[in-house]
């Protein structure tokens, strides 16, 4: 075992010395390789972290949201609608929700207004998201007025600013009392925006949705699993766009590494010829080149992956932020919780380290099995 290990160490020593002779070329390759891994790993880590955060927090959203549709558009829930649902078995709780959008011309941004019970938000006061508070320069105790869609001016006292930790969910949120909401949007009494349903048994959610569609044909039930699926696909799609943009760079690197790995330079061929002439076996030459491929690709992978982790979780993925996060006038500030998916890392490892190591072997094997004399003369 020790003899075998010592032999490998000598081979690695020789490989490193050989690499050092073409220092600039090999360092350039290592750098390009590491940058490619960095870009791909950053993309992977960022989307994975966003995806898992969305999955975790949205797991608390209502089991079923029931909307009413009129001519393909989301319409208000009329009085008496909620009572009809109460008769469906399996529905534990149903709650009419009041929410809507408000465009604020002061900062050219859309806000989401949401009514809350009187014990949470008193009449005449509002609670606002931290991003909105920052955009409008608000703090608890300030008074802000909004002009409603009917032209009337409403003044509200900011009772609290929601925690900045929840910006990802509450950036543009304005919570106000039901009475204020109805007065501000002139919502007819007894009407709601939609209905949130709670179903006791998770196995029954689909059945409840089927029953809802059958008994209320103008309704559209949205299940929690659909909400979660939407976010999976939103981030998958954004990752896909970024990968498409990067496809050119990935292909360029594939060509570069294939060229470097599969085409032997005259100098390398002569080196192999000399090694064979002084008594190296074909297997030794192949092993040496395999070490070369592994050392370069493994160093590039580790370097690129560590740099990507630091970039995403300590520098907020500054390089890809605009594409991956999207844009909005009210953009939440948030720090992602570090998440690494072992399978994704293994896939990245497989597709970056193995092709290069394998590409190195074919030409070496071809050069190593030919006669040393003809290799040196070529």
């Amino acid at each position: 075992m020790n003899v075998w290990l010592e032999k490998q160490r000598h081979l690695i020593d020789f490989t490193l010395a050989s690499l050092a002779r073409r220092k600039t070329k090999n360092l350039g390759l290592l750098l390009a390789y590491a940058v490619l891994v960095f870009v791909l790993a950053s993309l992977m880590l960022f989307t994975q972290a966003l995806r898992s955060e969305a999955t975790f927090v949205l797991a608390g959203s209502p089991e079923v949201i029931l909307q009413r549709m009129v001519a393909g558009r989301h319409d208000l829930i009329p009085p008496g609608y909620i009572e009809k649902i109460g008769r469906i078995r399996g529905v534990q709780k149903q709650e009419g929700r009041l929410w809507g959008y408000y465009y604020d011309p002061v900062v050219n941004a859309n806000y989401t207004f949401m009514a809350r019970p009187a014990n949470e938000v008193a009449s005449g006061s509002i609670m606002v998201g931290a991003t909105l508070a920052r955009a409008r320069g608000l703090a608890a105790g300030n008074v802000i007025s909004f002009r409603s869609y009917s032209g009337k001016l409403f003044a509200f006292k900011v009772s609290a600013v929601l925690s900045p930790d929840s910006e990802l969910l509450s950036a543009d949120l304005v919570l106000l009392s039901e009475a204020d909401f109805r007065a501000f949007f002139e919502y007819p009494a007894g009407y709601f925006t939609d209905i949130a349903l709670s179903v006791a048994n998770p196995q029954e959610v689909r059945k409840v949705a089927e029953k809802l569609s059958a008994s209320l044909p103008d309704s559209r039930p949205i299940l929690r699993e659909e909400v979660l699926r939407t976010y999976q696909s939103v981030f998958d799609w954004r990752e896909g766009i970024m990968l498409t943009v990067l496809a050119g760079a990935i292909l360029a690197f594939a060509i570069l590494s294939w060229e470097k790995a599969s085409g032997l330079s005259a100098e390398e061929k002569r080196e192999i010829g000399i090694l064979k002439a002084i008594g190296w076996e074909t297997s030794d030459v192949i092993r040496m080149k395999m070490w070369e491929g592994m050392l370069i690709s493994l160093t590039a992978f580790l370097l690129g992956f560590i740099a990507a982790y630091v970039h995403v979780f300590y520098f907020g993925a500054a390089v890809f932020e605009p594409v991956l996060k999207g844009w909005a006038v009210l953009y939440p500030r948030f720090a992602l919780v570090p998440t690494v998916d072992g399978l994704q890392v293994a896939t990245l490892f497989f597709f970056t380290v193995f092709p290069y190591t394998a590409a190195v072997l074919v030409p070496i094997w071809r050069a190593a099995i030919t006669d040393p004399d003809s290799v040196m003369r070529a």
């Binding site: 549709m69 859309n110 910006e167 560590i306 009210l330």
Partner: protein, 110 residues
């Protein structure tokens, strides 16, 4: 004088330990991270939220999970999608398919 292989091993070992530390770090969430995530989930449950406040440009991007299938195009009949997100989705196949060439094949004149 150290052998080059020793230096290479040390370098690879340090970087491998770095990657192991990354895995350990991501699996072992800090107390702050855990309490933040839990607080956010509680907020979602309490307010009945359904979407992340990432893209507030329009209602179908602010609440993608609640938007109906045609909300991107429903501002008026034949409306174009306003936001760049829509332009990156390819049109359905039946819209891009060419018409059947019927010249000389019909029994009755056009």
């Amino acid at each position: 004088m150290r052998r080059p292989s020793t230096l290479a091993f040390i370098l690879l070992m340090v970087m491998s330990l770095g990657v192991i530390a990354i895995f350990a770090h991501s699996w072992q969430l800090t107390v702050t991270d855990q309490s933040r995530l839990q607080a956010n989930r509680t907020l979602v449950t309490q307010l009945g939220l359904t979407d992340l406040a990432l893209f507030s440009e329009s209602r179908y991007t602010r609440h993608p999970s609640q938007a109906d299938l045609h909300s991107a195009l429903q501002d008026h009949p034949g409306a174009f999608d306003h936001f760049p997100t829509g332009s990156l989705i390819s049109p359905p196949a039946h819209l891009t398919k060419t018409h059947e060439r019927l010249a000389g094949k019909t029994t009755s004149p056009d």
